[in-house]
């Protein structure tokens, strides 16, 4: 389980010893251009769709009459639709895009599967679209983050098989045999997701287990999906980008290995901690809480490793993409601590089934995973497109909106949830007044979602400009070379 000394020294691929002549990074980036662009651009689109849906849902909590006559825009449908759009459309897709790039860069290989990934990526998008629409028309499965009906899940799975095989093949054909910690995280995530997804779909949709064990399986899936698919990829990205951005080697490989195995062993057990008080065997949530406590070890070792690798503040000032990464790392620590504190049985008795849980989930999804993926979109895209973001300032503004939005969502829902839970403890307080009492806090989170959306629109504008500068000349060259019409059309144009 010990990492080699050179792994810890290797601040990414540049110093890894290899007898082979190295392929220049620019060449690797160029080989990844179209697949990564397609995946990341698609993910940004879904992020905006998901956030718009989340905003609609939040508004409807304040004003029930808003769009009330439309069955497919009812709160109970747009909330899961939003979560699925963000988790599958944005997070999973962006994770895959960045993952391909990281595997190629770290393995020093050219990407070989452009066409397969382009097609499978489109298929993934179709799957998400079918799934989100199905949820909106009422075909949801009714299990958290597994709401997409079986036909949409089948499309996603088919797309993933291709994407995952391409990723594993890229991993296997790496020219640098030495593995950097990022690769462990990505490699594990690549296998966890399909296994979790098929097992959960089989046990909940195809051959459903009986009674409350559906809820146990659903909690197992949701926890694993967050911690061992998206979470592992996001951690892998942090382990790559922090040393890369600071230019210093990773502080400790063995410490990273310890964190990795801790997360792998205990992460999948922690999801059921949310079932405290639910009508399931008592030991199930207890095991979950114990696992969550063990995850604290991973949290601390990650924090120490990152702290000794980079000075956060310097990095924060350095460039705009780094801000997202540093903020994401901070949110990872905060979300981990918050979830552990809320899982303490005495506290869960009060805050269970309140907004507080939503707040921590929001922090994990938008703060940790979302920030890290957005940061890596900002980092990766100009490299694979060999261009520049149109406006560095827009990125900084996006970061401001993003960070403020995440904190508003987290603080609003956490405080609102704690107050809600404390009032629920007192049976003489009328339920309706408790529900109404949450309105200001839901309002804070609504504002937070709005800020996130504004930031995402700025990203979309920046992305559009970047792609336009890149695509226009590419199209012109293509036309000039293959049709001979590019130059003609350019002349004809006034």
């Amino acid at each position: 389980m010990s990492a080699s000394p050179s792994t810890s020294v290797a601040a990414t691929e540049t110093t890894a010893a290899s007898p082979v002549e190295r392929i220049p990074s620019a060449e690797i980036d160029a080989s990844l251009r179209w697949p990564v662009l397609a995946l990341l651009a698609g993910s940004v689109m879904w992020l905006i769709v998901g956030t718009v849906l989340a905003l609609l849902a939040a508004i409807k909590l304040h004003k029930g009459d808003f769009l009330a006559d439309c069955p497919w825009l009812t709160v109970g449908r747009i909330r899961p639709a939003s979560a699925n759009a963000i988790l599958y459309g944005f997070a999973s897709q962006a994770a895959l895009g960045v993952l391909f790039w990281l595997l190629c860069r770290l393995g020093n290989v050219r990407f070989m599967y452009q066409v397969a990934v382009l097609i499978a990526g489109k298929l993934w998008n179709i799957g998400v679209l079918v799934g989100v629409v199905a949820i909106l028309v009422g075909a949801s499965n009714g299990f958290e983050w597994m709401e997409m009906p079986r036909y949409a899940a089948a499309i996603l799975f088919a797309a993933y098989v291709v994407l995952g095989l391409c990723a594993v093949a890229t991993f296997q054909t790496r020219r640098v045999r030495q593995l950097y910690p990022t690769q462990w995280f990505l490699f594990a995530a690549l296998f966890w997701f399909p296994w979790l997804y098929t097992a959960a779909n089989y046990l909940l949709v195809i051959e459903p287990v009986r009674g409350v064990f559906q809820s146990v399986v659903a909690a197992w899936f949701a926890g694993g999906f967050l911690r061992l698919w998206l979470g592992l990829v996001a951690l892998g990205i942090i382990y790559y980008l922090l040393p890369k951005m600071t230019g210093k080697p990773l502080y400790s490989g063995p410490l990273a290995a310890f964190a990795f195995w801790t997360i792998l062993f205990f992460g999948s057990w922690a999801g059921v901690a949310g079932l405290q008080g639910a009508p399931v065997p008592r030991w199930v949530p207890s095991v979950g809480v114990a696992a969550m406590l063990c995850l604290l070890a991973a949290l601390v070792s990650n924090a120490l490793n990152w702290y000794f690798t980079s000075c956060y503040l310097d990095l924060f000032k350095k460039n705009s993409a780094a801000r997202f990464i540093v903020f994401g790392a901070g949110c990872y620590l905060l979300a981990g601590l918050a979830e552990l504190i809320l899982a303490a049985p005495a506290i869960d008795r009060v805050t269970g089934l309140t907004l507080a849980g939503m707040g921590v989930k929001g922090l994990a999804i938008h703060g940790f995973i979302g920030s890290v993926l957005l940061g890596s979109i900002y980092y990766v895209l100009p490299r694979v497109l060999q261009g520049q973001w149109a406006s560095e300032k827009l990125i900084r503004i996006h970061f401001g909106f993003h960070a403020a939005g995440v904190l508003l969502i987290f603080v609003g829902l956490l405080v609102g949830g704690v107050l809600q839970g404390m009032k629920l403890e007192n049976p003489s307080t009328a339920f309706i007044s408790i529900a109404k009492g949450t309105a200001p806090f839901v309002g804070l989170s609504t504002t937070g979602i709005l800020l996130l959306l504004v930031g995402q629109v700025l990203l979309a504008i920046n992305l559009f400009k970047l792609v336009r500068f890149f695509v226009q000349p590419a199209v012109r060259t293509f036309c000039a070379e293959y049709c001979g019409c590019g130059s003609v059309r350019a002349e004809v144009k006034p």
């Binding site: 080699s4 309140t354 849980g357």
Partner: protein
Amino acid sequence: MRIRSGGGEAMNNGPLLFLGVLITLASSFWGLVLAPQIQFGRQQPRLIEATGEYYPSPRPGLAERGAEVYRSLGCVECHSQQVRQSGVHFDVWVTELTTNITAAVPAVARLQSHLNEADVAKALGKLPARVAMGLDAADADDLAKKLTAAGATAKPALVALGPDIARNWGPRLSVSQDYLRDYPVQLGQLRLGPDLASYGTRQTNENLILLHLYEPTRTMPGSMMPPYRFLFAKKPYKFLDGVPTGTIVTKVATGESEESAGEVVVPKEDALALVAYLTSLKAETSLTEAPTPKVPAPPAPPAAPGQTPPLAPVPPVP
């Protein structure tokens, strides 16, 4: 430069890494999926001796369809279906006097030293009378035996505790037996609306539920619940007149405005199914692992064992 072997360092070894990933997944799958399945997977609907019926019994057809509507509309996003209980204690009730009251009063007062004889006499004047509260099982049993020996037939009665119970969200905690016939099980994670695990026991007025679905703020001022008007159709008033009574077209008690416009609001079948489902939510059957608290009945007709308790009157609030 094809594949060099993984070397001595474990973390550079792809297959070993794969094995690690496989083992961790298998362990959590075994622990959280298979183990509970082996432990409880064969749970079956149970014969309840008191009623001679199996619990949980299948929902009627319309309610079964309503469960689909409930799932499809995502009601679980705001409503939980799990009643929690923080604990139980026991009260002791005197149900019958085997001696005359003048002999019983001092006996009871002697056993319950904090009560004076006047209070005891007043309490025993109307049976059943609660003479002790908040005891644990052993103490309650002990006291009941002593009281019975002293001439006042007494029995301990279970009291479920906790805010959910006090809110009248259900008579007892929810247990896994309650969900055996549910698919999907909708335990829920958020209570922006009240818990619905036992909604059918506290709200039986179907018209009120329909009205609540149509316009929540009318039945519950200030409600945050969105209206589900799309589950209803507006029909000309004349049409309703033409419909013979007893069909599924139920008139919602809407306000004047709709009536005067010559239209009447009628629920679509989905709304009726949803209401049938909501009223079928009754997790109240007494089970060994979750006995339903029961206030002792007056002595005259002895209560049948296991009979569901008379429910306290509930304000007509969904």
